[in-house]
């Protein structure tokens, strides 16, 4: 950046305020807890990534290249459980939300700092159970734990994994609770609801889902564990239970959980698009309320996962209709982000590249959701690779891309240093190409009829599978590169200064890294968010 010349690191900040392992493990500073989360979910991202790599290698040949079916079944189960419960759900909220949200609203910390630390410990406890399940042989239920397979037929340590997921759920309940109270009670003077950054709105909506949905997941998993241990007969038809009841309970959490995973990402995108277009956001109230609308509608669409599972045709009709209703707020967001760029002053730095990739991939992911909500069409594509492609466009193309964008956007704030711009742009490009090559062929495979969770497949599907595996290896490179240059930047990166992007928002008015208590004196907010305008210096990117 040509305008950044004489930046120096602040003498005192949250990272050097205190040293030693105790000062980290017993910290109540939301920023340090965010860093703890960042380190732990990164570990799980790469463990989940290794599973993904092994899955793709297996599918290179029709008979299965590497593993017995049992091992393959464990791989996709552990891939799903790891990525969803130990990476995607905590990703943006627990890392960026924890770090940035209190600063964005002018608070010195979250409302309950001890509960915040506790949530990390609970997450780690859950993660330990999940790793224990892996070490003691692995679990082959699929991340969906469908009954009666999971309750009555498998001898793998299903209960251990279920307990792990159950425990991890409480960490997101605590995070959600903390965010809601913080947003209600700890906003700085002048930070009205209409002035909240959209990232805060998105995390607020996410928190509502977390505290309302996660307890149902907990109940469901407890019932699975009880059924395995004591044969209580809730889900197993041999004991008088109903296996479809499990699906209702599971998806009552797990569909809203999709929005737990994508809404915070949408919040990140709103921040990045405005900053790199130097524009007020187009249609602030519409983006803010569409987050709430998604949170609310997200709770009444769960049975669209069950159109062939034996629900009545009339309830299928209702759930299909409601699923279209939940698609509209997402469309509204995409159009508003695009319109924000209109007449902007656009520069394509790395966070912006990720944000633009998000818009494109999320649009495809969202629109392919319309296929699955269409009753007569879902019959054919349900449980095929079409579904896999669809939700990876949302989860990887959407959420992971947003997470990477956010990480590149706030990295200078978190660490005080810049990463190498050339390498990061290259990695963004590699991720985009690798992602599409991995998952686009899966749409075609799905419509051809290749079922998901197949360790072997008919030979005519091989070419598309090989393409997908080739894409996955490119994607892996794209994710390994940032891990290297981010670590490199900690020592060698250029000093960032308070506001390397010339962005608006309270987090950019304090030093990078921020001081332990964020603000030396409580800020008073007098402007709306994203007040990009003439008074600010506009850097020119060479």
């Amino acid at each position: 950046m040509s305008t950044v010349t004489a930046n120096v690191m602040p003498a005192k900040h949250y990272l050097n305020d205190n040293y030693g392992i105790r000062s980290w493990l017993l910290t109540k500073d939301h920023k340090r807890i965010a860093v703890l989360y960042l380190a732990s979910i990164t570990v799980f991202f790469f463990i989940g990534g290794i599973y993904a790599a092994l899955i793709r290698l297996q599918l290179l040949t029709p008979q299965g290249a590497l593993f017995q079916a049992d091992t393959y079944n464990k791989l996709f189960t552990m891939h799903g459980v790891n990525m969803i419960f130990f990476f995607l759900v905590p990703s943006v909220p627990a890392v960026m939300g924890n770090f940035i949200l209190p600063i964005m609203i002018g608070a010195k910390d979250l409302a309950f700092p001890k509960i915040n630390l506790l949530s990390w410990y609970i997450y780690i406890a859950g993660a330990c159970f999940s790793l224990a399940a892996l070490v003691s042989g692995g679990v082959d239920t699929g991340w969906t734990f469908y009954t009666p397979l999971s309750t009555g037929f498998l001898r793998t340590p299903v209960t251990v994994l279920a307990i792990g997921v159950l425990i991890a759920g409480f960490s997101s309940i605590f995070t959600g609770l903390n965010f809601i109270v913080t947003v209600h009670r700890m906003r700085a003077p002048g930070m009205t609801w209409g002035r909240l950054p959209l990232f805060v709105w998105a995390n607020y909506a996410t928190s509502i889902i977390m505290i309302l949905g996660t307890p149902v997941l907990a109940i469901t998993l407890i019932l699975v564990a009880l059924e395995r241990a004591f044969h209580i007969g809730v889900f197993d038809p041999k004991l008088g239970g109903d296996p479809v009841l499990f699906q209702h309970m599971f998806w009552f959490y797990s569909h809203p959980a999709v929005y737990i995973m994508i809404l915070p990402g949408m919040g990140v995108i709103s921040e990045i698009i405005t900053c790199f277009s130097r524009k007020r956001v187009f249609g602030y109230p519409f983006i803010a309320f569409s987050s709430i609308a998604i949170a609310v509608f997200g709770f009444v669409v769960w049975a669209h996962h069950m159109f062939v599972a034996g629900i009545s045709v009339y309830s299928a009709l209702v759930f299909s209709l409601l699923s279209y209703a939940v698609a509209i707020p997402s469309a509204v967001k995409v159009f508003n982000w695009t319109a924000t760029m209109y007449k902007g002053s656009i520069s394509l730095q790395t966070p912006m590249l990720y944000a633009l990739a998000f818009i494109g991939l999320f649009t495809i992911g969202g629109l392919t959701g319309l296929f699955l909500a269409a009753l007569g069409l879902d019959i054919h594509i349900h449980d095929t690779y079409f579904v896999i492609a669809h939700f990876h466009y949302i989860m990887v193309g959407g959420m992971v891309t947003a997470y990477m964008g956010g990480l590149h956007f706030w990295w200078p704030k978190i660490t005080g240093r810049m990463y190498p711009e050339g390498w990061s742009k290259l990695s963004a490009l590699i991720v985009f190409i690798g992602f599409n090559l991995t998952f686009f062929p899966q749409f075609i495979l799905g419509y051809l009829g290749m079922p998901r969770r197949y360790a072997a497949y008919p030979p005519e599907f091989q070419v598309l599978n090989v393409l997908s595996t080739a894409g996955a290896s490119i994607l892996a490179v794209g994710f390994i590169m940032p891990a290297i240059y981010f670590i490199w930047s900690l020592k060698y990166g250029e000093v960032a200064g308070n506001n390397p992007w010339q962005a608006t928002g309270l987090e950019w008015e304090i030093s990078s890294p921020p001081p332990t208590h964020n603000f030396h004196e409580t800020p008073i907010v007098t402007t709306e968010p994203y007040h990009y305008g003439a008074e600010q210096e506009v850097p020119v990117v060479p």
């Binding site: 277009s277 524009k279 009545s312 159009f335 319309l370 269409a374 051809l448």
Partner: protein
């Protein structure tokens, strides 16, 4: 099956091209909006590239635009919703002239039985040009019956009959997949559907080594298991007479009226006390664990074929005043049709 790399599945059933048109419409919608957004983004990037001599123009938003891009996607979604729902209703309702086949799924194979008693494993022979209704049940976990070339899929549940139907158009051999993850050899739970010309199918049926029709085998079981001791037509019988029962509304001791369909008959054999017919004592022993799914299908098929009413008429022995009489059946059926809000897919009313 093709040896080249297919990019689009075969259209081998009468509904396949209906599903494909909806699919292609959605592909067009997706392509249009994705390209629109991508084109706008590219245009904005180039047109509004950051330069020192130009600043962003601040725009707050436009309620008109918000309405436009809410209403248009909503309108398009409603078109898709209605189109897909109409198709779905068509796919869920088997035609009344459908040929019946029974399928039992277990870890990890498919077993099929024809009313004539022919059986096969991991392979299902069907005639072209005639609707085929498959009644499915699982012996263990949830499976799913998926024939991509027919665009047909139905989860197969333990403890409950599910049905699906299709009409094959072209003779050929098509994949049958289990599409619901069912444990270790899920990906090996595959078979084939062989669609044949009607005359070929007829000769295939006769070439099979059937041990008598399903109903005949069911009758044998009916005697062996001692069902016949109680379920008789005479007035001293301790159980309801089953002749003409199938598909008929029955009043229970608690006053509810249920239709005696496949699922009702199955439940009444396995859990006899769950739905006791009005006027009878809950004295029937359970047959849970003593009788296989195949036997249950045979018994049910036998009971279905007991359609000729006896002199007394069905259920009339020991009948209570509340029991539905022959003359009232039509009226009760009409009432149920009006009241039904969530019909079972496996209702046997199409007989």
């Amino acid at each position: 099956m093709q040896s080249t790399v297919p990019l689009f599945p075969e259209q081998a059933s009468t509904i396949a091209h209906h599903v494909d048109w909806l699919y292609l419409f959605l592909v067009a919608v997706t392509a249009f909006f994705s390209l629109l957004v991508a084109a706008l983004i590219l245009f904005f990037i180039i047109r509004y590239k950051r330069t020192p001599d130009r600043e962003a123009e601040q725009i707050h938003g436009s309620t008109l635009l918000e309405i436009v891009w809410t209403v248009i996607p909503l309108g398009i979604s409603m078109v898709i919703f209605v189109w897909a729902a109409v198709l779905y209703f068509h796919m869920q309702r088997p035609p009344s002239n459908a040929m019946e086949v029974y399928g039992v799924a277990k870890q990890w194979m498919w077993k099929f039985e024809y009313p004539g008693g022919q059986r096969e494993i991991n392979s299902l022979h069907v005639p072209i040009g005639r609707p085929v209704k498959v009644t499915l049940i699982s012996q263990d976990v949830i499976h799913s019956f998926f024939v991509p070339a027919f665009r047909v899929k139905q989860d197969v549940l333990p403890n409950r009959y599910m049905t699906t139907w299709f009409e094959a158009k072209e003779p050929g051999t098509y994949h049958l997949f289990c599409s619901q993850y069912c444990g270790t050899k899920h990906s090996a739970m595959i078979g084939e559907v062989v669609a044949m010309k009607p005359e070929d199918f007829a000769s295939w049926l006769t070439s099979g080594k059937a041990e008598g029709s399903l109903a005949a085998q069911g009758e044998k079981l009916f005697q062996q298991l001692g069902c016949a001791t109680c379920h008789r037509a005479d007035s001293g019988a301790r159980g309801p007479n089953l002749a003409g029962l199938y598909g008929r509304p029955v009043r229970l001791t608690d006053g509810h009226v249920v239709v005696a369909d496949d699922n009702y008959l199955r439940e009444s054999i396995l859990v006899p006390n769950a739905k006791v017919v009005s006027g009878f004592q809950p004295i029937m022993p359970t047959f849970q664990g003593m009788i296989s799914e195949e036997d249950l299908i045979q018994l049910t098929d036998y009971i279905k074929h007991l359609s000729a009413p006896t002199m007394e008429g069905p259920l009339n022995n020991r009948s209570t005043p509340e029991q539905i009489r022959d003359s009232e059946v039509k009226q009760v059926q009409d009432q149920m049709k009006q009241q039904e809000t969530a019909p079972q897919k496996t209702s046997g009313n199409n007989k």
